[in-house]
């Protein structure tokens, strides 16, 4: 127990940045727009968060800036994919290059600088419950907010009118259009919110998790997030579980490195990527057998009102 509780708490802390990105991507993909640029969006968000926290001294302002920067960068992708009907895969790759390059360019004078970021606090009452308290309620405000956001999105996507519109647009844009829903408006809205959440995910890394700026600090988390959306079959709660599983692997790997095992570091660093591959295969096998629902039907396809498919 003495080992397990800190490990589980660490799993949640390491899983949270990925969770924000995953929730954002679920919203975007539910509308039919795939954003493969998460890695770049997260990096730009991480730098924006770091930079604003450093100059304004307020981590919340930093996180807000990370959200805005993420949404702003994603607007390029949204414009190309929604208005222009461009290839979403290529546009996403361009976005990841642009974001990675821009964050490195802007942050080159700040590498390794530290900031005073967000601090953890014990959540009142709930934090005192044995086992659950130390694992789930000994974190920072962003972790608590992620619980609320996940719960809200479960409700929003499946139980509200705008959520149903969102799913309709992703599953069958033509029918949604006939119902009087503006496909491009829904897609813009949720692609941009998704980008903002990914930016905030990056902000969490720099403002809360490490409290410093390191070039390329996302280290593939943006790509892992995309895999976790598939693992979560586009459902927030399932995706949250996946994120904590991953957080657990990260935490385990760091703990083993700190404990000084005889296993070389590169082997440990490989773990999250190996696991992503394994999990992705597992899910795809199950999907192939019809045991799991597939992606939103229009994912990746542009919609043109005046043309037949």
């Amino acid at each position: 127990m003495d080992v397990l509780i800190p490990m589980m708490a660490a799993a949640i802390r390491s899983g949270t940045p990925v969770l924000y990105a995953v929730l954002g991507e679920i919203l975007a993909e539910r509308s039919g727009v795939m954003n493969l640029g998460l890695e770049g969006v997260m990096l730009v968000g991480a730098f924006a968060g770091f930079s604003v926290t450093q100059s304004a001294g307020d981590p919340y302002l930093g996180l807000a800036a990370a959200f805005c920067a993420g949404a702003l960068l994603t607007s390029v992708h949204a414009f190309l994919c929604i208005t222009f009907g461009g290839n979403q895969v290529v546009s996403g790759l361009a976005l990841s290059m642009l974001g990675g390059g821009m964050s490195a360019m802007m942050g080159r004078g700040h590498i390794g600088e530290t900031i005073n970021g967000l601090m953890p606090f014990k959540f009142p009452i709930l934090g005192d419950i044995p086992l659950i308290g130390p694992v789930f309620f000994s974190h920072d405000a962003m972790v608590y907010a992620s619980y609320l956001l996940t719960a809200f999105l479960c409700f929003f996507i499946f139980r509200t009118r705008p959520g149903m519109n969102l799913r309709a647009v992703g599953e069958n844009p033509r029918a949604a259009d006939a119902m009087g829903i503006s496909v491009s408006r829904v897609r813009y809205t949720f692609t941009l919110i998704g980008g903002g959440l990914s930016g905030a995910a990056g902000g969490y890394l720099s403002v809360v998790y490490t409290q410093m700026w390191v070039e390329g600090m996302t280290a593939g988390r943006g790509w892992i997030a995309i895999a976790l959306v598939i693992f979560g079959i586009w459902r927030p709660l399932r995706a949250m579980f996946g994120c904590y599983l991953f957080g657990g692997v990260y935490a385990l790997q760091m703990r083993m490195q700190a404990a000084g095992t005889s296993i070389p570091a590169p082997m440990l660093l490989m773990l999250p990527y190996l696991m992503t591959l394994a999990v992705l295969t597992f899910i795809s096998v199950r999907k192939g057998r019809g045991m799991l629902p597939g992606a939103p039907a229009s994912l990746g396809n542009p919609f043109r009102r005046e043309e037949r498919e």
Partner: protein, 360 residues
Amino acid sequence: MRGWRLEPRTSVTPAFSAAVSAASIMLALVLGGVIMAAMGVNPFRAYYEILRGALGSSYGFSETLVKSIPLTMTGLACLLAFRMTIWNIGAEGQLVMGALASAAFVRYGSAGGAAGMFFGMFAASVLAGGLWGLIPGFLKGRWNVNEIIATLMLNYIALSLMDLLLYGAWKDPASMGFPMTPPFPPEARFLTFGRTRLHGGLAMALAMTAAAWFVIRKTRWGFEIRVIGENKRAAGYAGMNVMRNTALVMFVSGAIAGLCGMSEVAGLHGRLSRGFSVGYGFTGVIVAWLSGLNPLALPFVAFLMGILLVGGDTLQVVMTLPLSSVQVLQGLILFCVLGGEVFRRRRLRPSRAAPGTGEH
């Protein structure tokens, strides 16, 4: 209703198509210039320095050719997979595996003479790179595992494997802590041209280009690749084995990237060292897309990207701009070319109310 709308275009002349490409790249350079200006760098001087660095001297020109070699190869690797609408983003990992296999053959293999060494390294790289492509290819073909994520994860795994060896068993004791193998023996090196760093990989790249063109345009298999790329279901009805072709194309794509790894370590560096590839696998994606998936246009696009990479090195030295500014430019070019494609297929027209809707 007043506004603009995009209408389908019925025919496109080659000249118009080329003009769109040129305009797209120009737009990307202008946007890049705006970003540079925002960072307090004179964009005109920056572009001048890029051109001067890459083309202004015979040395610069040869360096640009040196960079176009790996870009041509990774571009071809991506092109082949993209033709079948398989998104192989894993050329980086595949080329690392090819380089690892070459280094392993140099270290453990016993081949007589330069020819034996060449074929040994060649076979090792093809197998290792091919295997690294076959894994996601098989997963895609058999269970429809998302190949973008799979190839990306394998990139990270390949880089970790390289670290494992370079910081461990393969480390050169004389390297003063740098993660690199000892230098390869002379028989494991490619020939170089004169006093430049230009090496025999150039011939390999050109031969591979010709082979790719021949396979895609002139063989039955190339035809199958194109048909499957256009419409998987129709290809299945026509009796083509989509699953086997997916695995096979990914094997060949990985093998091409693997040979790129061999050419870099045996031709250019003469040893395996960490960071020997500066993201060639990813730039290959851009090269393939910019070429319009046309193998014959690809080496020229690779050369253009080579200008950007060599010029980027010059920028770093002369104007202290970080190498990441090249990455920004690459991202912008990809965006603009993608946007430009819309105008190749459609034209912008002032929108009118559709007849019969009663709007005035």
